[in-house]
């Protein structure tokens, strides 16, 4: 899944044509309006930004003059303040008696001139103070905006713009001094020199180099000009009226990147976005305008993080925190402190942002904790979705005071069960210890108890874990007067909570969903500085994007954001051990490839050759089944080049045909060729799943065990532990129809929900089903006349359609009837089998040789119509392997020896 940055949905660009009085929305078009009668404006959810030609003209004409005046004014004011300082010092010295001996100075101090000079100095202090006041009281700050709802856009399209609903803002007033200065510098004779400015921005810094460096690419003017023909013809000069459009697109960039004001970097981003050639240039480098924007956004977040929170600034909201005496009115938790930690205190001095992507859940949790009764919350979610981070997010909100009055001054205390057990061993009486701790909690008046992995306190689970705390602690928790937050995953919730009415009643369930890829990217952004510091490396932004995308796609056993965080950490660690300083997206692919033992790196020349020869290689091993080989290799090529649908298995095939023609063997060969030798195929005999009870077994119910009381390893477990494999369902027609219904979900969505409630991922598997449907018809045709094969095949397909539901049949990428093997093909199979035997013998230090007649002889002797290649295998085993074994036992064949296969062994 490609990352959706969804930035564009925050703004709308509109135009107005004065001649026709027509308003409209500019959708994915970026025209430069030069005609005075055409104007452009930008709409956010609450504001609209506009810019007029007189404003632009005034800026170009007057800004530099105004700036120069301001600079001179400040210099003069500073100079004129100095005499005042000296006069003030002189007065101090005069009154302290130091100047008693310098009578002329005393006289001078009493003169009219000094008084006037002092007054002028004070007046200049006022001027400087005014400047300072103006800057502080009216800082330039672009408003932050939220997504514009589609409903609103539709309304605008239907009824037109209702400008009265929006606050009007001038684009120019949000431009920084640097921006205005650049606009003036690059406007000559009423012509705005766009390309010259673009080149200048690329050359100078203005934070643009920082963006380019983080994007992991290099941009040079010479390369653009030579290879991409980007020059003044592509980015032309415009009349001054066109600046309205350029500045509108630039302020859009500033808003999307959550900047305080319109900076030169936004003009740079706008120019990149405006022209297809510049966009193509960055695309060939492997990045997009969205990535550049996201980097600018990240840089802004770093600046905001580094800035001290200004509590005294009335423009920034302030939330009461309670102050130095807030703890005086709440009780102590001395005993609890031994086996718990205060999360509010832990996050107090941490400037990281927690709970990203869980805004709704945080709101929900805050409202549950703020209730008068039943204020316990149970967070249910898979491991790695960010349940703990969500709680830290609430702790952070408590710290900033951004919570309802009921939660003000509260602190979240995390119970450490292992710490409690350890402390109880020291203290002796565990019951008394828990009782005292719970009393402390009740008495404290400001504690919220947080228990991670809450199922550990359920007696049934505690029995499994063999600790005796649950029975003692649980009653206190159920009758608690303080709020409790617990976390549990889906399977444990279903197992231990769902059936327990009192537990269910005591908690309000909050489902914690997997965060989106966009939010995961934001979470990874917060980790950049820590990772760079720890691993002594530089992380480019495409690395983060690749980590999110590849983790989402290949690490299905964990959820986002945990999978992506683990991926980037693994990549950094791998890069460090390989002395790589600058980490790129390719390194992420490499790290995942190593970790998962699959190949997801870019296709190199060697692999390209291998993929091209894949069909040839498989054909060498699978004799006479070209149709099946072509179907399989095509799906494998699609998978390796990433063209396939990532939400489905790599390929789903149904193989039909008589026995011994290579159906299972093809599955094995594919497993070896595509996933590597280490990966064994998962073979499921569907005849074991005939009755209705077998549905539970198929879904991996936890109660399935063998006679020895050991838990059986089910399909679910095998796919979970090895998601990159070939799954072979043998004889699917024998499976219970309910199981065949489960196949619909596997084939269509590439996932299966297990009995434990976990989602098992099949998107990286190749699914091969085999069926004996119609094999009677096919066998009959083979026995009677091979010329009837075509007709028999059609009849077999009809029988298949009658036996399996159309929904299921529709979901196969291909239904392939394996052809019977003729004598020449059997000869080739015999050759293959002999070669395999030779390989085995070479491993033992023996060599076998045979003449050209031997394979044909075996094929003729072993051929049983309708039985395929299996009799050949048996024949070689009985006649040739048996003879070799005899020779070894009799001492005629020793290590390093050679033996010829004799014709009389076969005849």
């Amino acid at each position: 899944m490609a990352l959706d940055f969804d930035m564009q949905e925050k703004t709308i660009c509109g135009y107005h044509k004065r001649n026709t009085n027509k308003f409209g929305i500019l959708e994915n078009k970026f025209p430069i309006f030069q005609d005075e009668n055409e104007s452009i404006f930008l709409l956010t959810r609450d504001h609209f930004f506009s810019i007029s030609t007189p404003q632009i003209t005034s800026v170009i004409k007057n800004y530099l003059r105004y700036k120069r005046f301001g600079d001179i004014k400040r210099i003069v004011a500073n100079i004129l303040v100095l005499p005042g300082v000296f006069i003030a010092l002189a007065f101090i010295f005069k009154y302290t008696g130091f100047l008693d001996q310098f009578q002329p100075i005393i006289e001078l101090l009493e003169s009219k001139l000094v008084n006037v000079l002092f007054g002028i100095s004070i007046f200049n202090v006022i001027i400087l103070w005014h400047d300072f006041y103006e800057e502080k009281s009216h800082p330039i700050q672009l408003p932050k905006t939220k997504k514009i709802q589609q409903k609103e856009i539709d309304e605008i399209k239907a009824t037109g713009f209702k400008f009265g609903r929006y606050g009007h803002l001038d684009t120019v007033s949000f431009s920084s001094e640097q921006t205005l200065e650049l606009l003036c510098d690059f406007t000559k004779d009423n012509q705005f020199q766009t390309y010259d400015l673009f080149k200048y921005l690329l050359k100078e810094d203005y934070d643009i180099q920082q963006i380019i460096r983080r994007s992991g690419i290099e941009m040079s003017v010479s390369e653009m000009e030579e290879k991409f023909k980007i020059g003044e013809t592509v980015i032309p000069d415009y009349p001054i009226t066109a600046l309205r459009s350029i500045l509108t697109y630039a302020i859009e960039e500033a808003i999307l990147t959550e900047s305080r004001q319109l900076e030169p970097q936004h003009i740079f981003l706008a120019i990149i976005r405006l022209y297809p050639q510049t966009l193509k240039y960055i695309q060939t480098k492997g990045i997009s305008i969205d990535i550049l924007r996201e980097i600018a956004l990240y840089n802004n977040s770093l600046i905001a993080k580094a800035q001290r929170t200004k509590h005294l600034d009335p423009n920034i909201p302030y939330f009461n925190k309670g102050g130095i005496a807030r703890r005086w009115i709440y009780g102590y938790t001395f005993i609890l402190g031994h086996f718990s930690k205060d999360l509010t205190e832990e996050v107090a001095n941490n400037r990281d942002i927690y709970g990203i992507g869980h805004d709704d859940e945080i709101e929900n949790l805050v409202s549950v904790l703020g209730k008068l009764s039943n204020k316990n919350a149970l967070l249910i979610g898979e491991a790695g979705v960010g349940k703990s981070s969500l709680i830290l997010g609430v702790a952070q909100r408590i710290n900033t005071g951004n919570v309802p009055i009921q939660l003000k001054d509260k602190r979240i205390v995390q119970l450490d069960i292992n710490g409690l057990i350890a402390h109880s061993l020291k203290m002796g009486n565990i019951e008394e210890l828990i009782m005292k701790a719970m009393q402390e909690l009740e008495n404290s008046g400001n504690a919220i108890l947080y228990i991670d992995e809450m199922q550990e306190l359920i007696p049934a689970k505690a029995e499994e874990s063999s600790h005796s705390l649950a029975g003692i602690l649980l009653p206190y928790i159920l009758n608690s007067k303080f709020p409790i937050i617990g976390t549990v995953n889906y399977s444990d919730y279903k197992k231990y909570f769902y059936s327990n009415e009192s537990l269910r009643q005591s908690f309000t369930n909050i489902e914690v969903k997997e965060v989106s890829t966009t939010d995961t990217l934001k979470i990874l952004e917060t980790k950049i500085s820590t990772l760079e510091k720890n691993f002594n490396c530089y992380i480019t932004f495409p690395t983060l994007v690749a980590s999110v995308e590849l983790a989402y796609r290949y690490i299905k056993e964990r959820k986002l954001p945990s999978s992506a965080v683990q991926t980037i950490e693994a990549t950094c660690s791998w890069a460090q051990s390989n002395s790589i300083q600058k980490i790129t997206a390719e390194h992420v692919s490499k790290a995942i490839s190593i970790q998962k033992n699959i190949n997801i790196t870019d296709i190199d020349q060697e692999e390209s050759n291998k993929l091209r020869k894949l069909e040839e290689n498989i054909r060498k091993r699978i004799i006479g089944q070209d149709e099946a080989v072509i179907a399989i290799t095509e799906s494998l090529r699609r998978a390796r080049t990433d063209i396939r649908n990532p939400e489905k298995p790599i390929g789903v095939f149904l193989f039909m045909g008589p026995t011994g023609v290579g159906k299972t063997y093809l599955a094995k060969v594919v497993g070896e060729e595509f996933f590597g030798n280490k990966s064994d195929i998962i073979r499921v005999d569907m005849s074991e799943y005939q009755d209705i009870d077998s549905v539970d077994k198929f879904l991996g119910t936890t109660e399935t065990g063998n006679v020895f009381g050991q838990t059986n390893i089910t399909l679910v477990d095998r796919v979970k532990s090895n998601p990159y494999t070939v799954v072979l369902f043998d004889e699917i027609e024998k499976a219970n129809p309910k199981i065949l219904n489960l196949f619909l979900q596997i084939f269509d969505e590439g996932r299966l929900t297990s009995a434990a409630g976990e989602t098992v991922d099949f998107t990286n598997t190749i699914i091969v089903c085999t069926s004996n449907i119609g094999s009677g018809i096919l066998l009959q045709a083979l026995e009677q006349d091979e010329a009837l094969w075509g007709e028999a095949k059609d009849r077999a397909m009809i029988e298949l359609r009658q036996s399996l539901s159309p929904e299921l049949l529709n979901r196969f990428d291909g239904v392939i009837v394996f052809s019977p093997l003729d004598i020449t093909q059997l000869k080739s199979v015999a050759e293959l089998l002999l070669t395999e035997l030779k390989k085995r013998m070479i491993d033992k230090g023996l060599n076998i040789r045979w003449t050209d007649q031997i394979p044909m002889l075996i094929a003729n002797k072993a051929n049983e119509p309708g039985m395929g290649a299996r009799p050949l295998k048996r024949y070689i085993q009985d006649r040739i392997e048996g003879q070799i074994a005899k020779e070894i036992i009799e001492g005629n064949l020793k290590s390093g020896g050679e033996i010829d296969i004799k014709e009389n062994w076969i005849i």
């Binding site: 008084n115 007054g119 509590h311 102050g323 130095i324 005496a325 709440y330």
Partner: protein
Amino acid sequence: MPIWHLRKLARISVVVNDNLSLSLLIKNFFLPWHRDYSMMGYVFGLLIKILYLPIAFVIYLISIIIYTIIILVWLLLPIGTLTFIFTSILR
């Protein structure tokens, strides 16, 4: 007088009050020290608050007064300076 200065004064009042826990302690004046509901807890709590609150209140007042003076200086300084310059010239 610009509204911004008044808003700043109001903000100073809120921040100082919050940081010194003034209104919080007044609201919970009779609550015992760390919720220790024994006689000792009540006595100690009252004692601490009786000692602390006047100090906090003085700090609060000083902060407010200082900023009020700054506003007054800000208001009067231009007029005062001009008057000073003119009287110096005319004297």
